[in-house]
Symmetry: C2
Subunit: 539 residues, 2 copies
């Protein structure tokens, strides 16, 4: 076919960017509520105006394309604004985990060469510590959230003075591949790595959130998930696209969730299993049953059957998702089939616990041998590494070409998670690559042993790592936290496991002690592996 004249032009080609979602919603639904925060609220028209004024404030100070601008804040209206204002100025948004210690904050700011930090008033003292002695510290803009406690610390500007009265009227983005944000991985080992995302990828994931969750127009979204986690899994942009409400929360608690359910008609929220626990407890304490159900996306660990049943009982409908910072948060969903509703609770939980299939707009999900890149068979048994490809994959790691090339070798992003693929195409994680235990040549999934331990009524937390062994190479070593008031001993738990696991998977030791965790709540298995090495010498 003759393609003469059939070229890309301004009229028929536009970069995909989440900034377009705000522009459309501000045009079509300017009067609708965009943000609720305690007694405070703002419409989409107001948010849009503030976004453009903050973007103008950055631009008049010479900050734009190529600059990194950071945010250190809880889930507040200021953060909602900054999620749009920083990329609208053309800058790259660095979102900092509010739980990081001053040293790690400083590392992230120095490594990224951030030129400015928007910081919640409450977090200024910690930021001050991080900046102390830096050769060229970033400017600081203090966010005076209405619900923040008083606190002191260094700031060059107050938010209200920083904004510029003549709002920016146009985004300077001309390519969807332009860098959008920067998030440092929590780093269970070594230094955090800076994950760089694009406008295109952020928009694509934001759209997929809506498609894969079949979200209605005008959702009421409760911010239990930190916005600093992979840009809140791109939900700030999903909610803008759908003209929804961002219900902010400075701190997550059972009481706060229950209050939001009761007063704001929450329709959707996201988080780790601990958030689900809080939501259930809060609703139960308040005697509240959501009808129609509130929908929750849960990631990080598959919810057990008993927890799903409890969620059902208070009207929380759980969708299980999987992802990493490198893939914009979740981009794999345990897609639910209506016919599964007829199955037993245990069977439903087993199906829901699988990580599942790609998001609608992610190109590929595969389980492969990381050496040969061969796909594993769909037998539910052969373990390989989960790999992803498509527009919902990061641009790469900032200033770390070696790590970027390693992550992308063979044309796929290597997640480091080990999984099987079931005959129906759904994947199920068996372990982190570095957490697998190899005993006598057999791969042992630490998660499988942890699941067996979790099933014991006295166990509140469990983590299993490899312990060196002269004969077998490695054997499993379990670390366990007990439920408050419960008691149990090593022999009893090993006997419990013996009823449930193959002999070679038995933990050789069970240690009762608190589990060390990262700032995002992940168990620090590298610390436990050091403990296990020390313990191996004693037996």
């Amino acid at each position: 076919m003759d393609e003469t004249g059939l070229i890309r032009r301004d009229a028929n080609s536009a970069p995909l960017t989440p900034l377009a979602f705000l522009a459309r919603t501000a045009l079509v639904f300017p009067e609708k509520t965009a943000v609720l925060h305690g007694p405070h609220s703002a419409t989409w028209g107001e948010v849009d105006l503030e976004v453009r004024r903050v973007a103008a404030g950055l631009r008049v100070r010479g900050l734009g394309a190529g600059d990194v601008v950071a945010v250190l804040a809880p889930n507040t209206p200021g953060f909602v604004t900054l999620n749009f204002a920083i990329p609208m100025a053309g800058a790259v948004m660095l979102t900092l985990n509010t739980r990081l210690d001053a040293g790690t904050l400083r590392y992230c700011l120095e490594h990224s060469e951030a030129r400015l930090v928007f910081c919640d008033r409450e977090l200024l003292p910690r930021l001050g510590e991080a900046l102390a002695g830096m050769a060229s510290p970033p400017q600081v803009v203090r966010i005076d959230d209405a619900l923040a406690p008083e606190a002191d610390g260094p700031a060059d500007h107050a938010f209200a003075d920083f904004i510029h009265d003549a709002p920016l009227t146009q985004a300077p983005i001309d390519d969807g591949w332009a860098s959008f944000s920067l998030s440092y991985t929590s780093g269970t080992t070594g230094r955090p790595k800076g994950v760089v995302t694009s406008h295109l990828g952020t928009a694509t994931n934001a759209i997929s959130n809506a498609l894969d969750w079949a979200m209605p127009h005008f959702p009421v979204y409760l911010w239990t998930l930190p916005m600093f986690h992979c840009n809140g899994w791109c939900f700030p942009y999903t909610i803008a696209m759908l003209g929804g409400v961002n219900v902010c929360l400075r701190a997550v608690s059972a009481q706060a969730i229950a209050d939001a359910f009761a007063h704001h008609g929450i329709t959707h929220f996201c988080g780790a299993p601990i958030v689900m626990q809080m939501a259930i407890e809060g609703a139960q304490a308040a005697g509240f049953v959501a009808d129609p159900p509130v929908r929750m996306m849960v990631a990080a660990a598959p919810p057990p059957a008993s927890v799903i049943a409890r969620a059902d009982s208070v009207g929380i409908d759980v969708t299980h998702v999987y992802g990493l910072t490198e893939v914009y948060g979740p981009c794999v969903v345990s897609a639910w089939k209506p016919e599964w509703n007829a199955l037993s609770p245990a069977e439903r939980a087993r199906l829901k616990a699988r990580q599942g299939v790609t998001y609608t707009l992610q190109e590929g999900l595969s389980v492969r041998d990381p050496e040969t890149m061969a796909e594993t068979p769909r037998d539910g048994e052969t373990i390989g590494e989960i790999m992803l490809r498509g527009n919902i994959v990061m641009k790469g790691y900032l200033k770390d070409e070696a790590a970027t090339e390693a992550a992308f070798r063979g044309g796929w992003f290597h997640t480091g998670d080990l999984a099987v693929r079931h005959p129906d195409g759904y994947v199920e994680i068996k372990d982190r690559a570095k957490d697998i235990i190899i005993s006598g040549g057999e791969n042992i999934s630490s998660i499988e042993i942890e699941d067996a331990l979790y099933a014991h009524p006295a166990v509140a937390g469990a983590a299993v790592v490899a312990m060196p062994h002269d004969k077998w190479g490695e054997t499993p070593c379990a670390f366990v936290e007990l439920v408050i008031g419960a008691s149990c001993d090593e022999a009893a738990l090993i006997a419990w496991c013996r009823e449930r696991l193959a002999g070679y998977k038995m933990p050789r030791r069970v240690v009762f002690e608190p589990l060390p965790k990262t700032s995002t709540g992940k168990v620090q298995k590298f610390a436990l592996r050091q403990r296990a090495r020390a313990l191996a010498d004693t037996r």
Copy 2:
């Protein structure tokens, strides 16, 4: 920020193509019903396999990138397959209007240099006429639809023999800008123009259909809209993306729609106002009220309040959309606000009759002076031309650079439709650019006069065009079809208009005769303008 190594790669970049929707649904939901056609059905796994076999059939015959492959068929399972198989082979799909005469069919096939036509058995005789005497006629593949009447005509292959047993396993598309389909405009004046679309644009519009209609997973979609109209407004791809059911219909009738409502649990359908009329009549005759409501997208003419009320009464929830072939079908939607449900029926109809705002993923909608390109004020009064830009705009017209450049001048696609923009940002069409009547320097909207005429109980159809006038330049001339059994005369209708319109907008003549229509049901105003010129000489 240092962008070293942050490049596009196979792992983090993929062309946007609707073929990916089929691949994902065939993987995740292979057992779900994809197509229903009378007593026949197929699953997504079966459709995917057939698609890849037809694509392989094209490829083994040397048809692929750069080739045009046509389809001439009603809404049948074969067409569902071809919507994917032709682009999967890398070819461009030409969809032909089944109502075209042999001469126009021949023009489209010759102009596009189509190499092969898939033709429904019933339409073979007309295709035979079109091909007779062509210097290098395309090959013909006969689609033997199970519900097609017997008919004879030339065919080189039967569909069942054409497919290749070794299915294509990979799409050869490597760029979202690759040409996807070709549709000829119905051409109210002059020769039809060939509108070329891209994979990227088709996928973007398919996604927007789901977002703007807030569609659930697994919709049951009734094919009342012809698939040959802008690729069925991209709904074949929306339905694939959502794992839905395509309920096929060879011919649309009130009875057929009512049957589908009753037996298949239809959730969504689309069409012109005549389809809405049929659906209402069918449901009323069957005493059927859809609960929950069936959702309908209606385009081409705003539904009056009385019709919306009748639709409501049988459980049809109407969404009004606007578009053209050049923008993939609808890409403008009269986005509904829940608070409007509290308004009076007349007020609701007035709001719903507006064309509205951009689809979520279309970049821009504007009303501008086509000469200066200045935007018109949002006053609900100043008339300008509707212009669109973004990924949901065609690549251009095939082998017609002059028309392509003209359509895209000033960086926007010029629709030729004249509209006002209301203070709330919603646009409302006042006329086609070439249908506006300029009388004594005043613009008169032919649609406004037609609306006044339609309000008369005896009027079944009305079209108003410009009639030359010595003093005023032009004056309105009305052509009217009466309701069967009703009677009315010119003086009565002019008096009727006088109560409703400004004096200068009065039709100077009212002519009672059948309205000439194009193959897609549009009134041929160019023919009426010729009639009006002749009539002007007589008074």
